[in-house]
Symmetry: C2
Subunit: 151 residues, 2 copies
DNA sequence: AATGCAAATGCAAGGCAGTTGCAAGTGGCG
DNA sequence: CGCCACTTGCAACTGCCTTGCATTTGCATT
């Protein structure tokens, strides 16, 4: 059963792993998404959209991808849930709305050169950084304002 | 049983909660620590040092403190475990050594004014941010160098 | 195209961090 | 002291994630 879902066959074989329906579907979903997804989000989408998949397969697939550096695994700051996103090898940051949990990407790194400066000042070999910005998105901002003006 | 462990009695009463042996002990441990601790770390230290405590009490106490904003709860970026630290109301960041998991505090926020600038540029109400810097500490840097020079 | 085998999967059980219900204990107040 | 709401211990439970094992499937080779 290998119709044109084999979109990622080359990529997967290049990494020395088999091209399967599930793996292709998961890569496709991650590619379509603008922000990191939880294993459960992937699981539910796949169960509804394509043929059924087991949750453990989702986790194993994600682990495999992460070990091949195809995707990046992280943990959500507020509840610690695991998040997965395609590794575009591009440096990115997000605005996290604490009202509705929306994630908004910001394209460039606001602190890139700052890291460079810092590297020369401290006895610590910096290899990377993670910046998360919290607040209220356009929609929740309005809602918040309405609420607080009642007080 | 309220000897001089009642160091935080006033603080606790001010928040409308009772001063107990466990609560005082937990606050003391958090105050002594230079970096955030897990519930389990607190649990083990308390079990060994003072009279026994139940892990659920540790969690409930930490939740109570967090709801009063006495402490800050976060989730470790690499494994998602919950971390707790005293809320000094001071803005801090850490260098995380990916070699030995050591956390090194850096005093000032390297991006404070940058946030200010950003606030005026985007349609998002920024309330805070979290910056983590990864790399190798002085010790692990040396070790790493030794390893890579073998190749 | 058929064969063979290692890799991938489904299923069910298990592990671990954190939570909750409830009965017993304790702090703070009169 | 004596009361009572708050706190705690204990044990069961939940949710996220992992693992063992039998079965299936990709894919290389014939
Ligand atoms: Mn950056
Ligand atoms: Mn900062
Ligand atoms: Zn929002
Ligand atoms: Zn180190």
């Amino acid at each position: 059963m290998l119709d044109e879902n084999s979109k990622y066959k080359e990529l997967l074989n290049r990494e020395g792993i088999k091209s399967t329906r599930h793996r292709n579907a998961i890569l496709e979903l991650l590619e379509e998404s603008e922000f990191p997804l939880t294993a459960e989000q992937l699981f539910i989408t796949l169960r509804d959209k394509t043929a059924s998949i087991d949750l453990s397969t989702v986790y194993r697939t994600l682990d495999t991808f992460a070990s091949k550096n195809l995707i990046i695994k992280s943990n959500r700051a507020d509840d610690g849930k695991a998040l997965y996103e395609l590794n575009h090898n591009e440096h990115k940051h997000h605005l996290l709305c604490v009202g509705c949990h929306k994630l908004i990407s910001i394209d460039d790194c606001p602190i890139g050169e700052l890291m460079q400066t810092l590297k020369n000042k401290i006895d610590f070999d910096i290899t990377g950084h993670k910046l998360e910005i919290y607040g209220y998105c356009h929609d929740c901002k309005k809602f918040n304002h309405t609420l607080s003006s009642d007080a």
